[in-house]
């Protein structure tokens, strides 16, 4: 009967498509084009949220607005005062780094975005943001909220992008303890609770409950020194070779809607620049790119794989982030207002 033949044909076709999608990148273009078809579904699905935000914005009393305005102005004043200090510190820091021949901190330019959906499959923790290829989003960019690191872009569609959260069990974030610089890799937990587990930390390491974990910048995906998580439990079991350390992410994974996308570090830009996508809002980082090309080649020679989904830094790449001579000794970070879109 023809029905059997047809289902067999489609099963074979599906298997072929799955294989091609997982092994090669022929189908990225198809995926991207189908993204145009699915965009309206997201747009409509997000409408209730947009309307509720709009209502919140429109139907608010005059008094409340004045109060909020006053509070915001106060906060801005505090923030600006700290920024003034920070500018001085950053200059000093960069000068010291130049003396040490360390790389200047890449000052990240940011693009604001909104989370418009979360992944419906239970096995993975991913969110969808309302920025896509048309906004210049590239794979591998880091996502932040006001409190800390959230994740990285894993798939770019025309108007939206999928972001894998750091709590996904297939995601590893290179971190270091802010107090003493002890390095570790924070992997998303496999359990129900969205938290991080520090992998392969020796029992003797100096990590305590309450320690702040910041991104270490190793692995060359995430920028350095962004807050990631706070250590919530440390268990030393003599039967185990490694300590069991759990940490709670600082970013408000399930509550926030407003997030920021961070520009790629310049060495990543080199790689993605070859793929032909012209980023609109990361142009200032490009000027630093030429010095880093040497490092890129070194990595290629070492045979380090491009870090795909799990960003565990391969051992070969571990030391690569540090010894880059900076060209400009005293790069002052830009005015934050100018850096935003």
């Amino acid at each position: 009967m023809s029905l059997e033949y047809r289902v067999a044909a489609f099963v074979v076709l599906s298997v072929a498509v799955m294989f091609a999608d997982s092994r090669f990148d022929y189908l990225d273009r198809l995926r991207y084009s189908l993204g145009f078809l699915t965009a309206p579904v997201y747009w409509v699905a997000d409408t209730p949220a947009r309307i509720s935000y709009w209502i919140d914005d429109v139907f608010v009393s005059h008094g409340d607005l004045i109060d909020e305005n006053e509070r915001l102005r106060e906060e801005l004043l505090f923030a600006q005062r700290e920024l003034q200090l920070l500018a001085g510190l950053a200059t000093e820091n960069n000068r010291l780094r130049a003396l040490q021949e360390a790389s200047a901190n890449v000052d990240g330019r940011v693009l604001t975005a909104e989370i418009i959906n979360i992944s419906s499959s239970t096995g993975s923790r991913r969110v969808l943001i309302n920025r896509g290829a048309t906004d210049g989003v590239l794979e591998g960019q880091a996502l932040l909220d006001a409190h800390g690191l959230m994740g990285q872009v894993v798939e770019v569609l025309p108007f939206t992008s999928w972001v894998m959260l750091i709590t996904d069990s297939r995601h590893g974030t290179p971190v270091q303890v802010n107090r003493n610089g002890e390095r570790a890799i924070a992997r998303g937990s496999r359990g129900e609770v969205p938290e991080l587990e520090l992998e392969y930390v020796p029992d003797t390491s100096d990590i305590e409950v309450g320690d702040l974990l910041v991104s270490s910048g190793l692995g060359q995906r995430f920028p350095k020194d962004y807050p990631v998580a706070e250590v919530t439990s440390v268990v030393h079991d003599r039967g185990q070779p490694f300590a069991t350390i759990k940490a709670k992410p600082l970013a408000q994974m399930d509550r926030t809607r407003h997030v920021m996308l961070l520009a790629l570090a310049s060495n990543e830009l080199e790689r993605s620049g070859q793929s032909g996508i012209a980023p609109v809002w990361v142009d200032n980082a490009l000027s630093k790119g030429d010095k880093r090309l040497g490092i890129e080649e070194q990595i290629d020679e070492l045979g380090a794989e491009p870090l795909e989904e799990v960003v565990n830094p391969a051992p070969e790449t571990l030391g690569v982030d540090e010894p880059v001579p900076s060209e400009t000794g005293d790069t002052v970070p830009e005015d934050p207002a100018a850096g935003q879109e």
Binding site: R6, V7, F10, V15, M18, D21, R31, L34, S120, G123
Partner: protein
């Protein structure tokens, strides 16, 4: 030709709404109870209009679902094509069934769909093996089926979808 097909937009609208419902975020505790809207709508149309909604239609619908979910391309397509095949080969019996019996068939079909996608996701390393609680989605789908059936039948009749 014009005589034979009529009211295609009702089919497309029903699928559009199913896609919307499929991606609407649920609270964490209710994640396992989400009905499989696309598969249910597909079963209905395969049963009611087997000459309009066939295996190819199901496959394309699954492909769009893959894009929406961000999963491996062809994963939902394969599962939905198999569901459509079973629904098509049973469609004459399904029409005769009482709503309770239909719900039973829907339970089995959706359970199969969930199981297949789960296995494929594990094989493709898109998910980690977990407990079987996700099969509760089949239960909720079977529970919703009678109402959805009546609604879609009403739409099919009043708009004369052929």
């Amino acid at each position: 030709m014009n005589q034979r097909t009529h009211g295609s937009w009702v089919i497309f609208l029903s699928f559009f709404v199913a896609y919307l419902l499929a991606i609407v975020p649920f609270p964490e505790w209710a994640m396992n109870y989400r009905p499989q809207w696309i598969a249910m709508v597909l079963i209905y149309w395969a049963m009611a209009l087997p000459y309009r909604v066939g295996i190819g239609f199901a496959w394309v619908a699954g492909l769009l679902m893959d894009i929406l979910e961000g999963s491996l391309l062809g994963l939902n397509a394969l599962a939905l094509a198999i569901i459509a095949y079973i629904a098509l080969s049973l469609h004459q019996r399904l029409r005769m069934f009482s709503s309770l019996q239909q719900s039973g068939v829907v339970l089995a079909l959706i359970g199969l769909h969930l199981m297949m996608t789960h296995w494929m996701k594990i094989a493709a390393e898109q998910a980690v093996a977990s407990n079987l609680l996700f099969l509760l989605g089949a239960l909720s789908s079977a529970f919703i089926w009678p109402w959805m059936f009546v609604l879609l039948r009403q739409m099919r009749r009043s708009f004369g979808v052929r």
